[in-house]
């Protein structure tokens, strides 16, 4: 707690969130240092998605603090959050299926003023994900599930993320595709982007993460280096089951 604020991409302190009368987050605290991949593990309904939604400004916090790159963003609007380089790839990919792949990528750069920068970043995404380049004029909905996930990540890259928050990128995908997605996330991280990775697929997430948190009923119950958590019998029993 005595570290300087710089070097921290995201700090969530004591966050409480209610959905109506449901107490979804109960004093949740996590930290993502710059350059890290941090996994947030837990079962359905544990509060993982709510955590990301409140960072994104989509769900209001009842109490607690969210600090992104040294600035308090607890009450910031979603577009302010995006403007600060905190980019959320939502659960279920949420690509715009009736818009073309190219338009989806352009929307990722909606807040980027300079069109040349957007074009440049889209070109980079096409370089990394040539499948998207081949189909740039097609509607997003024509892509397979794995390709849609790639598009969702590519779309986030066009925004120029400093912190990328991914919500269940492996959901519903074949193991081979999951591996590809995780490799993509590692690659993005190596280029300097911090990553907060929400996953039910603990095995895949722990393999690429530096540190991890386990969330249960809106609270953090375990945290530590990914390798330690992967060896922890509580994690093995609950999330890595044989």
């Amino acid at each position: 707690m005595s570290e300087p604020a710089s070097g921290v991409a995201l700090e969530i302190e004591d966050l409480d969130v209610f959905y109506g009368r449901v107490h979804a987050l109960r004093g949740l605290s996590i930290r993502v240092r710059e350059g890290e991949i941090v996994a947030l593990l837990g079962n359905n309904g544990a509060g993982k998605t709510t955590t990301l939604a409140s960072v994104s400004g989509v769900v209001p916090a009842q109490s607690g603090r969210i600090v992104a790159f040294g600035e308090d963003v607890t009450k910031a609007k979603p577009w302010d959050i995006v403007g600060r380089g905190v980019i959320h790839v939502p659960e279920g990919r949420r690509i715009f299926s009736r818009l073309t792949i190219h338009e989806n990528l352009q929307l990722g750069g909606y807040l980027v003023k300079d069109e040349k920068v957007v074009d440049q970043r889209i070109a980079e995404v096409y370089d990394i994900l040539p499948r998207l380049a081949e189909r740039r004029g097609q509607q997003g909905g024509t892509l397979s599930g794995g390709e849609q996930q790639m598009l969702a990540v590519g779309r986030a890259l066009v925004a120029g993320p400093r912190l990328l928050m991914l919500d269940e990128p492996s959901m519903g995908l074949a193991p081979l595709i999951v591996t590809q997605i995780m490799e993509l996330v590692e690659r993005i991280n190596r280029s300097g982007t911090s990553v907060l990775l929400v996953e039910q697929n603990a095995r895949a997430a722990l393999r690429i993460s530096h540190r991890a948190y386990v969330v249960e009923s809106g609270q953090i119950t375990l945290e530590g280096p990914a390798s330690e958590l992967a060896a922890d019998h509580r994690v093995i029993d609950a999330y890595l089951g044989a």
Binding site: V58, P78, H88, L107, A159
Partner: protein, 297 residues
Amino acid sequence: MSQLLWNGLFVGSFYALVALGYSMVYGIIKLLNFAHGDIYMLGAFAGFGLLTMAGAMATSASFLALFVVLLVAMLATGTSGLILERVAYRPLRGAPRLSVLITAVGASFALEYGMRLVAGPNPQVYPIRLEGTTVHVLGARVTLQQLALVAIAILLMIGLQWLIMGTGTGRAMRAISQDPKASLYMGINVNSVIARTFFIGSALAGAAGVMAGAYYGKIDFLMGFLIGLKAFTAAVIGGIGNIKGAMLGGLVLGMLETFGTAWLGGEWRDVFAFGFLILFLTLRPTGLLGERVTERV
């Protein structure tokens, strides 16, 4: 025959202008904005007020006067649309759709009877008529002013099409219409884009209001009621929420009405229009251009 075609094109082009606003608003917030026809009425009255103030100059009905009146009326109705959205609809974002629909009906009455208070219950004679030089186009008698208005309507529609398909704002509108929540994650200020949609749709309706005033020569505070329903019909015929569909629907409705009237007599005009509404709602509720897109999950 070609006279009928021309009349159908003329009437159809301002149905299309009104239908566009209907369809855009429906597309983006899934609201049937029943006050939209009254925005069109406001446009007609804004033009009327302006022309009356300008007095003698306007009666000459020069192209320039027409153009300026159109522009000012569009600004006025665009702003009215912004206020309408802000006051009546935004507070209800997230409320059940029926509540918003009832609010729209209320807003419609408020605009109609508000105008009745200002302008009185009697019809006003429009100080500008489209009776300038007549030219013959393919056998139809057409005035230059009519020609100009249709040209302006077409230009407005081309401009709108460009805005929707070729600009960031248009992309944002299409994104919101598909998934408002995901649009937030793109950094789109959803409320501001919705407000812009209301402004544009209302401005187009305002242009149509001036055109209608000049074409029919008479306006009153209830004139928006019927055109609202007609524009709704046009939007449904084309496929509601679909921009090209609204343009096509307006044109089709204008033609159907014109030819139907010539065939059966003027008193059947509205029967004809709403007969087609019922026909489409029953047989092809997605309209001519609306299609169900299969989405893979």
